[in-house]
């Protein structure tokens, strides 16, 4: 067997330098005339170990982590030329106990079944992994539309974009619409800051999304398909374009697809122009039509009047990627995973203060603690786990003591957070929860489309209150005022953005009220984040008198002679934090 070397070239891998690694290996192969096949793949989810290189030879498969160009040279020489794998660099293998075996072993990969295991730019490799077999099966068995809807309903698949609406129901409504032209839209406008599931799927396995859309089109009777993708994902767009071209060449898109008489379907990509609200389906449709992306009142729902007023089905990337697997493996196989009301698996983007940042796919019903500690490897620098943020700007913070909550739609909703699209940002004791609430509200305030007064003005007023609290001017009654505004905004906004915008504030008040009170009552920030509430002093034991802080202080609040301990005049100090970031010896203390 010829040795195969595969380099992970997803966005995160490339950011970590995977292109250099790939080029180095390619150059080595040419210059030393080495005998191996060099391949590209996408993200396998282990972002914290990027760049990743997989070597498969006669003895088995080995995944090497943190493979910069130098390490690549070493590994090629030892492993490939001398057949001596370097054990300490191997992060995953099924041959022995490697550090990340748990990370891979605890996952159930349905959506990510191909990500990191094939070249995303090759339709042949996709087909070799059962690609386009699902739609082929439907065509050859002459499965009726009703039967496909039934299958999806039975699988229990719910919308993975965050709403959690049963996908089969959505398809049923769109199928019932009477019109000669109908549309299928894939929502790939992943706007939640801190979430990158959809990007990884599009970069790693674009064909499975296309196949999911083709099956949806067959089922509802659609003629046109649109993928609405963020312009910030250039690699995803590039690979989607390649995939669409390849599908055309094979006749998987176009006329009479898979020999189904009269089944004509085509897909094009629409680049989003950057507006968080366009994740809402009616806003997304307005944006495809070339207008400002402002949501409109429902009903009529897109299933009866959507794009160009035709019946339209909108699902998110992850939802579509599930479809081919369900068709091939059956509804029961899918429903075997998960909990009673949330079947299947869910992809999470783990990030923040967690050791293993990356992408994980777990069966619904796993506890949040398991996700963070078993897969995530626990908290960075062994700090104390404080909370986890689920659902981005529409979600909320779940505190440590509720981390035995299981991940399914209803359990997460019960905490006040939402499942959302799957962003999971972990926070430790050095994260200020008031600051986090302010961060999200600042985001939704800027992204509010301005249509509903409560969302447009209400978020602004809430932000002003949070601003003054974190600046040390919080007043008695501010918490109550925030709550009142929050419920007004939730009740009086048209779309999901406004209805959920106050969630980060409400959940932090609910679980971390003491932090708000410390900011307001005692003018203290327990996590030492909100600068105006801190006192900066010099640690005389560490200060070397280098004068760097003194020279950089914009307020001239620091005094001291060279090689003498410096002093900060608290009356002049503006708490800008410059001394803290400039000091090379960490002698500036915060309290």
């Amino acid at each position: 067997m010829v040795t195969t070397i595969t380099v992970g070239l997803g966005s995160c891998g490339i950011a970590a330098g995977a292109h250099k690694t790939y080029e180095k290996i390619r150059a080595l192969k040419e210059s030393d005339n080495l005998d191996f096949i060099l391949k590209k793949t996408s993200c396998v989810g282990m972002c914290y170990r990027e760049p990743l290189v997989e070597i498969t030879d006669d003895t088995g498969t080995y995944l090497y982590g943190e493979m910069d160009a130098d390490r690549a040279v070493e590994v090629i020489e030892k492993h490939v030329s001398q057949h001596a794998p370097i054990r300490e660099y191997i992060v995953y293998t099924d041959l022995f106990d490697a550090p990340e075996n748990d990370f891979i072993g605890s996952q159930v990969k349905i959506v990510l079944r191909n990500c990191g295991y094939m070249d995303p730019e090759s339709i042949d490799e996709y087909e070799a992994r059962d690609g386009y077999k699902a739609i082929a099966k439907i065509a050859s068995e002459k499965t009726g539309r009703e039967a496909v809807i039934d299958l999806i309903l039975k699988s229990g698949l719910r919308g993975r974009g965050g709403g959690g609406f049963p996908t089969g129901m959505k398809w049923k409504f769109a199928a019932a619409g009477k019109s000669a032209s109908k549309y299928v839209i894939c929502n790939a406008d992943e706007g939640d800051p801190g979430a990158f599931m959809d990007r990884s799927v599009l970069e790693g396995d674009p064909h499975s999304v296309l196949e999911g859309m083709i099956i949806a089109a067959y089922t509802i009777g659609a003629t046109g398909g649109v993928i609405y993708c963020r312009a910030e994902y250039p690699l995803a767009i590039k690979r989607l374009n390649i995939a669409i071209r390849q599908a055309h060449e094979k006749g998987y898109l176009g006329k009479n697809i898979f020999g189904i008489e009269g089944f004509n379907f085509d897909i094009y990509i629409k680049e989003g122009a950057g507006a968080f609200v366009c994740g809402e389906e009616t806003a997304l449709i307005a944006s495809i039509e070339g207008q400002r992306g402002m949501p409109r009142k429902r009903p009529p729902f897109p299933a009866s009047s959507g794009l160009w007023k035709k019946p339209t089905n909108i699902n998110n990337v992850e939802t579509y990627a599930n479809i081919p697997w369900i068709v091939l493996n059956g509804a029961e196989a899918y429903a075997n995973f998960g909990t009673e009301k949330s079947r299947g698996t869910k992809v999470f983007a783990l990030a923040g203060k967690v050791r293993h940042s990356g992408l994980v796919e777990v069966p619904m019903g796993m506890t949040i603690r398991e996700v963070i500690f078993k897969l995530g490897g626990g908290i960075k620098e062994d700090k104390k786990f404080k909370a986890v943020q689920l659902g981005g700007p529409s979600g909320g913070c779940i505190p440590e003591y509720l981390s035995d909550t299981i991940v399914d739609y209803d359990s997460v909703n019960a905490t006040g957070a939402i499942m959302g699209s799957g962003g999971m940002v972990v926070m430790d004791e050095t994260t200020c929860m008031v600051d986090v609430a302010k961060f999200f509200l600042d985001f939704t305030c800027k992204e509010s489309c301005g249509k509903c007064t409560f969302c447009r003005m209400g978020t602004k007023r809430m932000l002003e209150i949070l601003d003054r609290i974190t600046n040390g001017h919080g007043r008695e009654g501010d918490i109550e005022k925030l709550e009142e505004l929050a419920y007004q905004i939730k009740d009086n906004s048209l779309c999901g953005l406004g209805q959920t915008a106050p969630n980060p504030v409400l959940t932090t008040i609910r679980y971390f009220r003491d932090e708000y009170e410390a900011h307001i009552g005692h003018k203290k920030c327990p996590a030492k984040v909100c600068r105006p509430l801190l006192t900066y002093t010099v640690d005389p034991a560490i200060c070397t008198g280098c004068m760097v802080c003194l020279k950089n202080c914009p307020a001239n609040a620091i005094t001291g002679e060279r090689k003498q301990v410096h002093h900060i005049n608290q009356e002049l100090c503006t708490k800008c934090g410059v001394c803290f970031s400039k000091c090379k010896f960490e002698s500036i203390l915060l309290s």
């Binding site: 800051p193 122009a273 400002r292 990030a351 203060k353 962003g423 940002v425």
Partner: protein
């Protein structure tokens, strides 16, 4: 997604050195097609790096789309720039993961070093400093992106050093 939307720049409008005939093939391609407004604006921005007042007027004149509709759409979406930008756009990520790992410090350090505010361009037109909502490399947080290159696990000082090196390379 850029966080701040940027208004018109009066000085840039006076700059009539832009070759508007470059727009012709773009107009040809999209004229009359439904839903063409955003692709037209995206295409114009790709040509010039920003959309000038003159470009707006020409697009409107030749496609019949009212200027008010164009301006409405261009100011709604974060992607569109109505001001010229620097040669290098520094995108500092302010996604959640970067935020909890002190992305603010990076923006502040760069603001100080480049003597511009968030969203502005340096006087020598070399750098534009921007805050973006998420670059999706959360495992490398805090992150910034200059051109195609991503820089991860940054501190304020490191970010400044990277930018200074680019400026040095440009001068030589």
């Amino acid at each position: 997604m850029r966080i701040a939307r940027i208004p018109f720049d009066k000085q840039a409008d006076a700059d009539d050195s832009l070759d508007l005939s470059l727009l012709d093939p773009l107009i040809e391609r999209h004229k009359g097609a439904r839903g063409n407004l955003i692709p037209l604006l995206q295409g114009a921005q790709e040509l010039y790096g920003f959309i000038s007042k003159a470009a707006f007027e020409k697009l409107s004149r030749e496609t019949g789309i009212p200027l008010s509709d164009m301006y409405g759409v261009a100011t709604f979406y974060a992607q569109f720039r109505l001001k010229p930008v620097g040669k290098h756009i520094i995108k500092v990520c302010h996604g959640t993961a970067c935020h909890v790992q002190h992305a603010v410090e990076i923006t502040e350090s760069l603001e100080e070093a480049l003597k511009v505010k968030d969203g502005e361009t340096t006087e020598d037109r070399l750098f534009t400093l921007e805050s973006v909502a998420c670059l999706g490399c959360c495992s490398l947080a805090p992150v910034m992106m200059i051109g195609e290159q991503t820089y991860g696990k940054l501190t304020g000082n490191e970010a400044v050093k990277i930018v200074k090196n680019i400026r040095l390379a440009e001068k030589n």
